[in-house]
């Protein structure tokens, strides 16, 4: 144990954390008997209710780095960080449920690259599957290392101990029960994350005298800056702590990045594909959106509370390491230490560990499905038995985890690699959204158009990133201002690469021969009969709940405008 660790655990905390590990492993062993076919292992038998699929959909995204990173971002940038939970998620989640889900679901695809194969052919599928598989597993390793580093700071745990214990646990329950086991555990993890983190919000608001008291203290502690408004400071890059303009938030984050992630990243879409019928598949993202909208309560509010009550300043990770200070990422652990005694502290740490494991399980299940169906079956062995592919799914889970662990150790030796891997991941998401959405909504899009749009959109994204790296003054073109910060640059780069993808797809499609409509049935709007839910009571219709969630989003944005 490290003598400089932030927290120390009492026997009650160890009991709480230990019970969590026993439960997740027990669930994995219990579910093995229900996981015999490919559909069971890769799509949880397509038997999940809307609630289970919806909670799992949000939980797979609610990793520990996400929790701690955005709590830290709330401390650093104030309430602006909420954009990533509201405009940066909710519209896209509702669009997935109401508009896109019928095509994913009716086509009976196992994966997003699988949909591209049906719509645009093998070349588009191969491009998407290889890039997704590679990036997912590398990102998993980067997250593994980052989490282990945080556990070292918080609890003094050895890096290798954190990496191996968490990986082995996830490996055991995913290998045994596949997606079914991952989804069960993600629902459990979601509940624990809420119960572990909500204590901070409740006790913190009591300490500051409620919402208005917290805001008053934030104003007092941040003179000359506005940390408490969501939109009113976005008129110019230099008017807000994030250095961003409202066009970047609306078009870059709210449109391209958010829609790209929530509608085409297979890590999250896979959870919804496990739903038992089309109505459940459409309801799941709507349910997920309602819970996502509430997540700022346990992530952003603790960050703001830290800004209001902590008697010292937090700094960036590099400065923290040099000057022996606390970094932004330590907001949640610091607040846990402030309010939670033995037992409750264990629950809070369990919430962080659960978040970490749900994110890792999301990565490995998505990787094993894409590897097995879209790379191995498509390119290596086409006609094997179902048992063979299930076995391949289990082995690829183990190999994927080992590659992730290898990546984590690689990053441990050279931290600079982390930035490159994270940048690589961002290159593919925005163009992929352009390709999928045109494929679903525009029947004139051709296989050549889809492939070249995806490829050139991705190359454009990489090109802009390299341009700014080589010549930082290029930022004024890529992000439209020299004042733009890293996040703003990411958003504008995503927007431009999406535009390139769409333009190339349209131009090449008009220059090539369209597919006959008979080949587009079940894949494209206008060629696919969508089962009507006209006989359902209003309260059972996904559209009704989507409208309610959208109205909630508008009201919340106005309240903290």
């Amino acid at each position: 144990m490290n003598s400089n660790q932030l927290l120390s655990l009492a026997p009650a905390d160890i009991l709480v954390i230990g019970a969590y590990f026993v439960t997740v492993l027990g669930i994995g062993f219990y579910l093995k008997r229900f996981t015999t076919t490919g559909d069971d292992f890769f799509l949880a038998g397509r038997d999940m209710t809307a609630w289970i699929a919806g909670l799992s959909f949000v939980s797979a995204n609610l990793g520990a780095l996400e929790l701690m990173g955005w709590a830290g971002a709330a401390y650093q940038y104030g309430i602006l960080a909420t954009h990533w939970y509201w405009i940066g998620a909710i519209p896209a989640m509702l669009f997935l449920g109401i508009v896109m889900m019928p095509f994913y679901y009716i086509s009976k695809t196992h994966s997003v690259p699988g949909y591209l194969k049906l719509r645009f052919g093998e070349a588009a599928r191969a491009t998407s599957a290889i890039s997704f598989g590679l990036m997912t597993i590398l990102m998993s390793g980067v997250n593994m290392y980052a989490m282990a580093l945080i556990m070292q700071v918080i609890l003094g745990w050895d890096l290798s101990f954190s990496i191996w214990v968490s990986s082995l646990t996830v490996g055991v329950y995913v290998v045994l029960g596949g997606l079914l086991s991952a989804i069960f555990n993600e629902v459990l993890q979601f509940v624990l994350i809420w119960l572990g983190a909500l204590v901070i919000t409740i006790v913190g608001l009591i300490e500051t005298g409620g919402w208005s008291g917290m805001m008053a203290r934030v104003h007092q502690n941040t003179p000359g800056a506005d940390y408490t408004h969501l939109w009113s400071t976005l008129g110019h890059f230099s008017d807000n702590p994030m250095g961003i303009h409202w066009t970047g938030i609306v078009l870059g984050l709210g449109f391209v990045i958010s829609f790209g992630y929530w509608t085409t990243d297979f890590l999250v879409v896979q959870r919804v594909l496990s739903a038992k019928d089309l109505r459940s598949a459409r309801m799941a993202p709507v349910i997920g959106a309602a819970f996502k909208m509430a997540v700022p309560l346990i992530v952003i509010v603790p960050g703001l509370l830290a800004l209001a009550v902590l008697p010292f300043k937090l700094v960036g990770a590099d400065e923290a390491a040099v000057n022996h200070m606390h970094s932004y990422n330590e907001v949640l652990p610091l607040m846990l230490a402030r309010y939670c005694g033995p037992g409750l502290l264990g629950l809070g740490i369990t919430a962080l560990v659960a978040g970490f494991m749900s994110g890792m399980a999301g990565n490995v299940t998505a990787f094993s499905t894409v590897w097995t169906y879209d790379i191995y079956r498509a390119l290596i062995r086409k006609n094997a038995s179902d048992e063979h592919y299930v076995s391949m799914g289990r082995w690829s889970t183990i190999v994927g985890l080992l590659i992730s662990i290898g990546t984590a150790y690689l990053v441990m030796r050279s931290a600079g690699i982390m930035d490159y891997v994270q940048a690589l991941f961002s290159f593919f998401i925005a163009p992929l959204f352009g390709t999928v959405v045109l494929g679903m909504l525009w029947k004139r899009a051709t296989p050549a158009g889809g492939f070249w749009g995806l490829l050139l959109g991705t190359i454009a994204s990489i090109g802009m990133w390299a341009w700014v790296k080589l010549d930082p003054s290029a930022l004024r073109y890529v992000a439209m201002s020299q004042d733009a910060k890293a996040m703003a640059e990411d958003m504008y780069r995503a927007l431009w690469s999406w535009i390139v993808c769409v333009l190339v797809t349209v131009i090449v499609s008009y220059a090539t021969k369209p597919l006959p409509e008979s080949q587009l049935v079940g894949l494209v709007y206008g060629c696919t009969p969508i089962p009507s839910d006209g006989d359902l009571a209003l309260y059972r219709k996904p559209q009704f709940w989507a409208v309610l969630v959208a109205m909630g989003l508008v009201i919340l944005n106005i309240v903290v405008w």
Partner: protein, 73 residues
């Protein structure tokens, strides 16, 4: 979910774990009433452990009972 296969509901597993957490956290909270810690947390006077432990017991107990295997078949 999976009723036709006789699968135990995930909500049962969650209920049992929360019940256990409720016992541990409430027990620790009650213990601290008689033996206050040397370094108390901020707002220790609220005894949040006791209230949170009761909440977990109620949630866990409710879910365990409602989703107990075989109860709804």
């Amino acid at each position: 979910m999976h009723e036709q296969k006789g699968m135990i509901s995930i909500w049962f597993f969650i209920g049992v774990l929360l019940l256990f957490y409720g016992v541990v956290i409430l027990g620790q909270g009650l213990y601290e009433l008689s033996s206050p810690p040397a370094k108390p947390v901020v707002l220790a006077s609220l005894h949040i452990g006791i209230w949170w432990g009761i909440l977990l017991l109620v949630l866990g107990g409710g879910y365990t009972r409602h989703f107990f295997p075989g109860r709804n078949r």
